[in-house]
């Protein structure tokens, strides 16, 4: 070969070397997915619930945030997260299998529930919500209280709170605007919804709660409210509320789509589900590439809450895809993603047998864990468990 031809071949080889190496440590880093069994997933959920229960105060409040390096606990608290964590405890009891048979979970869940029930406020005719005295009432807190009560009702058949459940539904419906959006707060001073505040979380939480309420109380008209809000989420929420990325990866919307899956979803709802699936899928793929040098090129390390919500959302959409023919092509890819993501999440859980009680079962990032890290991760593990591999 002439010198020119040799240079050309050399240049091609160098180009390939840089392209291949550059891609391999960035976009094409290997996706590492450890194995996960059903027992391991349920064990992870039970351990997380154990952290929640073991660190609960006698007043029913959970340990909100812990810095294990300093051993200090935060004084902060969040009522929506309290309701959500209570809900997760009931979910672990209901779906957690034999490992969740311990009495400490029902005791902890009921204690947390009693705290909420003691703070229920009537907001109008046949409407109620809950919140600490002197604070505005939050839509999300009412929604997750309702889901907690529904889970508890499904576990023990207790219908004592059915009237309250309908009142919570009526409260949520009262927060809805004509375009299907939801207002986040109910102002105690004015006795009316605060028109200025919306929440990227609460709208989906309320939608899911309303969908579940309709399943239990089909004559109350909650389905109409739910349809309007689902349309809003699927078509205009991101633009109206300035959310990004679009669609905003809302796991509560995914829960809602799954709950409403047999109501006759329209094509634009399924298009929304498909887009959400993509958002969750790429988040899991990105995380699965965080190994070796990928830990440098694939930041940041997600916290248990954040990655838990991704797995919750993708699990719910996988369930939807499993019975909705128009999404059938997503069922297996979503199952692959949630198995991979849950396996990685499980390996990140602190499972120090005999270690400090305040650490076992928790997910720490930078030495800090918050109760919703355990809440979302535990719920996710429950939903992934049926998709995980056999123990043998």
């Amino acid at each position: 070969m002439s010198g020119r031809q040799q240079r050309r071949a050399f240049n091609l080889a160098v180009t390939w070397l840089f392209v291949a190496a550059g891609l391999r440590v960035t976009i094409l880093a290997p996706e590492v997915c450890p194995p996960l069994t059903t027992a391991a997933a349920l064990g992870s959920a039970a351990a997380a619930a154990g952290w929640i229960a073991d660190n609960q105060g006698v007043d029913g409040r959970f340990l909100y945030e812990l810095d294990r390096d300093t051993g200090s606990a935060s004084d902060d608290y969040n009522l929506v997260r309290h309701a959500g964590t209570t809900m997760t405890l009931y979910q672990v009891i209901r779906y957690g299998g034999p490992g969740a048979g311990s009495e400490r979970f029902p005791t902890a869940a009921d204690r947390a529930l009693d705290l909420m029930l003691s703070q229920v406020v009537t907001t109008g005719e046949d409407a109620a919500a809950w919140g600490e005295p002197g604070t505005d009432l939050k839509l999300g807190a009412a929604a997750l209280l309702a889901v907690s009560l529904l889970e508890r009702r499904a576990i023990n058949g207790d219908t004592a709170h059915d009237e309250l459940l309908v009142e919570l539904g009526t409260f949520m419906a009262g927060q809805q605007q004509p375009d299907g959006s939801m207002l986040d707060l109910w102002d105690r001073a004015t006795g009316a919804p605060n028109p200025a505040v919306r929440s990227r979380y609460a709208t989906g939480e309320a939608l899911w709660a309303l969908a579940l309420l309709h399943e239990t109380f089909p004559g109350e008209g909650f389905d109409e409210v739910a349809w309007a809000t689902l349309d809003y989420l699927a078509t205009s929420r991101d633009e109206v509320e300035g959310l990004s990325p679009r669609p905003w990866p809302d796991q509560w919307a995914a829960y809602s789509l799954e709950a409403m899956g047999d109501w006759g979803l329209a094509d634009h709802h399924l298009a929304y589900a498909r887009e959400l699936s993509g958002q969750f899928g790429v988040a899991i793929r990105w995380d699965s590439q965080r190994s070796g040098i990928g830990t440098v090129t694939h930041p940041p390390q997600p916290r248990g809450a954040g990655f838990g919500t991704v797995l919750e959302g993708s699990s719910m959409l996988q369930r939807l895809a499993a019975f909705e023919p128009r999404l059938a092509d997503l069922a297996e890819p979503l199952a692959d993603r949630v198995r991979c993501g849950a396996a990685r999440l499980a390996t990140a859980q602190t499972m120090t047998a005999g270690g400090p009680e305040a650490e076992a079962g928790a997910w720490f990032r930078d030495g800090v864990t918050r109760m919703d890290d355990q809440q979302h991760a535990a719920s996710a593990m429950l939903w992934v468990a049926p998709l995980a591999g056999n123990d043998r």
Binding site: M1, S2, R4, Q5, R8, A9, L12, T15, W16, V19, A20, L23, I27, L28, A29, P30, E31, V32, E275, S277, G278, Q279, F280, G281, V282, R285, Q289, S314, L330, P333, L334, D336, R337
Partner: protein, 177 residues
Amino acid sequence: MNPTLAALLAVFSTWNPPATAHRVGQPGRRRVIGLAVAAAIGVVLALGGDRLVDLLGVSAPTFRTAAGVVVAATGVVDLVRRPGSPADDGQGQDIGRLADGVVAGLGPGPVFAATAAGIDVGWLIAGLGVLGAAAVTAWWLTRRRAAGTVTGWLIRSIGGVAVLAGVVMIIDGVSTV
């Protein structure tokens, strides 16, 4: 954009026949054979794309995203690079002339585009796309034209198509489960 169309556009535009023909240099049987060898490698990669992805330990959407980056980058290079004149006297050994064709058709762009197309739309369509692009390149090579203004704009236009196809592949890769 239709996935099949995007895949075929990516294959064709990364080959960028006038640009590749210009890089090959003077026409000749050995150089055309070299192009055919490059095309055959592309077809093989389209055929074995799924296995390659497994070997790399990545999912198809992740590979598509990476391929989209390479395709778009290839397009950018064709958009901004001046074709220049082929520093080729038409002489040299047979093996060198063969290498001219192979090297011109085996850049990262065509290779990634063929592999991704094979995964996304099947090896047959992808392979036909590669063979078609190589055939157009060979035809262009036989025209023996120097890189004039029209050719330059044509190369840039096809480079623009590669950028578009690459961006479509990136978006599709990122938004797929």
